[in-house]
Subunit: 197 residues, 2 copies
């Protein structure tokens, strides 16, 4: 099922090549959450702390050219709605699963950012004793939070009249992730605290 | 890094849409290993046994068209080499990770089927106490095996003069997965036996 990114939003993911495990020392502003997480996960892998990857963007391939002397070229394809969250892996022997989203909203996190399939996926992960959460960045406020998936799902299903989680709840019940140089967003420190202690 | 599928091999993945959790009752022949695994994983999810997904095919997107009234169309993209294995998820609280390959070879499984990155990834998973293995199908022999990743890596690194694992070793030390109607390839039964007992 192909879909159009809402509001004609341009695709920005997966273009930047990550060739070095060490992020640049300056210039944190302007890095997207995805870039910060890719750097962070690369740091975790290279230091042997965890094995967590972003899944590739799901694409429905319709047509491919096979030129004789060069790489196969996909000439027609469409974005598909993901059936799972974007990130998963293993940490301290546990299965880790999360979705990461940026919002320009300054007062709440709209549920519209997370698809029904992704919600269902996170519930399944929790049923199977995995660790599931969201990483939410309020771009304009420059605040990034780790927010437990169980609580997110509770909000979503029990408070149907609302279409978002208010920022005060995220500030109170989420866990702020400070921006650092390396790793940029050290979310495993928070995982240690809330899921392993 | 874009790459060309060796031997001008055509891309066959991800075209088939899975709309129903129940596989057809007949016609096992001709199903690819990927299709069998997709059906099996869907069966496991729908019965609440495990949450295991195939990762999307990694694609480097170069150009996208945004027509006014229809879905964004990717007009130039290339296949990328995967940095991890294709399948992962959670089962009985444990992280599960595997690669699945078909070969038309009748006497051995050539290492060339598995990229160095994937080998490295499986080692990392094992270091972090995940369960990692390969599912290898000898298409012409109609035999499918689960083969432990640790043993696979040992062969790869310690027996550099060889370029493949001989079939007799796979028959002796792998675990044959019988073909069934539903789920088609019940690999979790073997996982129960070799990793949980």
């Amino acid at each position: 099922m192909a879909f159009r990114y809402p509001g004609g939003k341009k695709y920005t993911g997966s273009r930047r090549q990550h060739t070095s495990p060490s992020p640049p020392l300056f210039g944190n502003r302007g890095m997207t959450l995805e870039q910060d997480l890719n750097d962070t996960n690369q740091y975790y892998r290279s230091t042997g702390r965890a094995v967590i990857h972003k899944k590739p963007t799901p694409v429905q391939i319709v047509d491919v050219d096979y030129p004789k002397r060069s790489a196969a070229k996909i000439t027609e394809a469409y974005f598909k709605q993901p059936s799972t969250t974007d990130y998963n892996g293993i940490y301290r022997g546990r299965y880790i699963d999360f979705e990461a989203k940026e919002t320009r909203n300054k007062t709440s996190f709209p549920f519209g950012n997370i698809h029904a399939h992704q919600m269902e996926h996170m519930s399944e992960v929790l049923r199977h004793e995995g660790i599931a959460f969201l990483i939410i960045r309020f771009t304009l406020l420059e605040e990034t939070y780790l927010y437990d998936a169980a609580r997110f799902i509770e909000w979503y299903f029990e408070q149907k009249e609302r279409k978002s989680i208010p920022l005060p709840d995220i500030r109170e019940n989420g866990h702020m992730i400070p921006l650092k140089y390396s790793p940029r967003i050290d979310y495993l420190d928070i995982i240690d605290r809330i899921y392993f202690s």
